[in-house]
Amino acid sequence: MLTCKEVTHLLSEGQDRKLTVAERVRLEMHLLICSGCSNFGRQMNFLRSACRRYVDRRSRGHDRAD
């Protein structure tokens, strides 16, 4: 079974490359029983959306005022 530390690496790498089927299965099994890593995974997704939105805000500025 994967350790939580290993899971954080897989969850981060999942943002950057396609995980293998074997990796995904092991990951899902861990997430089913570990709330800490499940929260960590959702937080990684949130970071990605926050970064996208940040760039959007900086590049478009205050559209609503136009």
């Binding site: 350790t3 950057d16 760039v55």
Partner: protein, 195 residues
């Protein structure tokens, strides 16, 4: 065409772009020059812009390319994979979240952030987010922002900065876990904006 854009708008645009360039370049003079060139380049092209947003989007696209050029230039003279004291400290902090068996310490287990997307609509959240980005060590920040802000593939980031793929993953993991901790401490654990 400049006449269509009042100086308050240009000042605000310049400020936004400068903040973005500084975060990634970590060099005020270089950031100023890069932004200046991007604005001059956009206005000198003789293009017509439909409005403020169109101009800003265009300048921003030019700025992105210029930031990439500057990072590429710099990566010739610095070793991106060398660990600074700050990066070593981040790794120690991260290791400290786990028990010896590499599972979370009960008090460090990541908490449920509820509906974090709601934070994206709050001005104060963005101030915290920016501060957390500023706190990332320079090399860690450079790799992370190339990936997330300039939207390079991981392979391209590694190739541009001449680092191995596995090292790239280690650096991105370090950046993300650092940002996660910073946001948790300064926003989500403190209940966000007190309103």
């Amino acid at each position: 065409m400049t006449a269509n854009f009042d100086s308050a708008f240009l000042t605000e645009m310049r400020r936004d772009l400068l903040r973005f360039a500084r975060l990634q370049l970590r060099d005020n003079a270089l950031a100023e020059d890069t932004v200046q060139e991007a604005i001059a380049g956009a206005l000198a092209g003789g293009r017509e812009f439909a409005g403020r947003s169109a101009l800003k989007t265009w300048v921003f696209a030019i700025l992105r390319n210029k930031i990439v050029d500057a990072i590429r230039e710099r990566s010739r003279s610095i070793n991106v994979s060398a660990l600074s004291v700050d990066e070593e400290a981040m790794d120690e902090t991260f290791d400290g979240l786990f028990k010896p068996n590499a599972h979370w310490q009960p008090e460090s287990r990541p908490a449920d952030w509820g509906d974090p997307e709601a934070a994206l609509n709050q001005e104060q959240f963005w101030a915290v987010f920016e501060t957390c980005l500023e706190h990332l060590p320079a090399n860690t920040a450079r790799v992370f922002m190339m990936r997330e802000f300039l939207e390079f593939d991981t392979d391209e980031v590694c190739a541009e900065l001449k680092i191995s793929t596995s090292n790239c993953h280690v650096i991105l993991h370090r950046a993300r876990t650092g940002l996660r901790r910073c946001l948790e401490k300064n926003w989500f654990a403190s209940g966000g904006a007190s309103c």
